[in-house]
Amino acid sequence: MPLQTSGFSNDSVSADVIVIGSGPGGSVAGTMIAEAGKSVVMLEEGQHLSLDSAPHFSREEILQKYRNAGINIALGRSKLAYVEGRCVGGGSEINRGLYHRISDTVLGAWRLACDVQNLSLDALVPHFEACEETAKVEYLPGPAPLISRRLDDGARNLGWSSIEVPRLYAYGKNSRSGAPGRKQSMSETFVPRFIVAGGEIVPDTRVIKIARSNGRWFVKARVTHLNGSLSEREYSAKSVFLSCGAVQTPALLRRSGMRKNVGESLRFHPMLKVVALFTEEINSPGGLEPVHQIKEFDPRFSMGCSMSKRPALAMAMAAHPSMMTQVDREWQRMAIYYVQSTGGRATVRNLPGFADPLVRVQLGPEDLNELADGLAKLAQVLFAAGAEAIYPSITGYPVLRSVADIAKLPPTLLPQKANATALHLFSSCPMGENKAVCVADSFGRVHGTEGLFIADSSLLCGPTVVNPQGTVMAVARRTALRAVEDRLV
């Protein structure tokens, strides 16, 4: 499987380990290896920006920190818009930091499907705990924002299970509301720790391909300089950790000639959104992020609240352009809610002559039925919470003004109308001993290679059902420590 190629020079920057990508997987893995005394270079395609370089989900942030300015579309009969980070810290810089530990039930399903060794909640708990010491996970110190509590109220009124989810966030201790606080993104937590441990972080550096020669890995990269000019640079190391995310890691492996099972099994949490209009004001400028999720229907689908500032509301109302003026008039009574399931599959491929990989998605009839059912349940809980109108973010869908109107929703989603989005992507290079489907072994080492590891969400064996960042960090720590312990780095 490993390439023995020419085209790489002997004039390269050398390290013990090169980590490609600085998101939750790369930052945690790189830190563990640097603290084990190895020289580590972490290459990041995007810029090294502070957490405060742009407001969350603003126009500026989308241009600075989102890959492709947030315009990523998986193509197929149904289309799926997905989002990835592209900056130091990766997705942790742009997500809301909602945090879960994965369930043992999901891990059990992964063990069965992929024959993963020594992967259980008990085995992962020390890794979760260690990561949580650096990236703080906290519950709100006071009441949740109203847009969050409304969802919780609706669930309670229906007798459904609803929880407050902690965040990777250090809330302000001197305020009952928890503001001002600090999001515990990688640029705030593991990246500084990595640098203190002697690691070198190299931003603005896109890896073109990797190859193995004479017992070492060579990494060919393209650097974008401040003036916009490009230059090529080469790195070499005994080991390489791929942490580019669930789309870019398989794309890099395939560009480098490693294709077996690679990018064949991308999974995600497809999400549908609605805007709910309430009778009273629930949305205020500067409010904290909503934190409630409904878990009544896990693992089929879960529901939650989205950030609902006016620009986001305008985007979510794009399917109802004639109602857009309502955002201007009544935004304080409006908020965005979502339902997300675990269905659908996708593949990752490179297109000749293009740098960006193509994702092809398939949402089957059962996946579409599940999302349609989830949308109806979301409307039900929002009416139970006191909503007076619900605007599904699906072109051509009716505005719902009562519980009775839910019956007007189509029983399934038409593939061409699905209009789903995904923030969580995984499983494009699953781990396990089942070589018929897996790309890496149970501890992240790419099958058939020496010194090549995966430490990001692509290694997970399927949907996490919950927000995945905690699991990505814990599994990356497990991967890195095992590699150190086995003297593979």
Binding site: I71, A318, L351
Partner: protein
């Protein structure tokens, strides 16, 4: 036809599109001058950053949108008056052709997002 093609402009079309959305939303003529350039730059920047295999088709769609008014008015979209530009946007929004509706949904929602990021910056504080 060749002369008409030379009149078409990707960037001018997105600038005119942004101005029209801003002016229509804000209901006062100075709005386009105040917010239009920032919104237009957002649309152009998004195009520069979108996946490279999507850029040529989107570039072509923008030019098609610019050329749409040529047979009827002799002018591309970016040289029309505000009222005519607004009418063309509305005609595409209501079109029976899906690609026209999707085009307006895509660029329209981006433009409004860009405008609202300007207008309601305080929401982020």
């Amino acid at each position: 036809m060749m002369v008409a093609m030379m009149w078409l402009s990707f960037e001018k079309t997105l600038r005119s599109f942004a101005d029209t959305i801003v002016e229509t939303k804000q209901q006062f003529p100075e709005a386009a001058a105040r917010h239009g350039p920032e919104v237009a730059m957002f649309l152009i920047s998004v195009h520069r950053k979108m996946p490279d295999y999507l850029r040529p088709p989107f570039w072509g769609l923008v030019l098609l949108f610019d050329a749409w008014s040529l047979p009827m008015t002799g002018k591309p979209f970016h040289r029309l008056e505000h009222a005519d530009r607004a009418a063309q946007i509305e005609a595409w929004r209501q079109s029976s052709l899906e690609f026209q509706r999707r085009f307006i949904e895509f660029y329209g929602s981006l433009a409004v997002f860009g405008l609202y990021s300007d207008l309601y910056h305080q929401d982020y504080l």
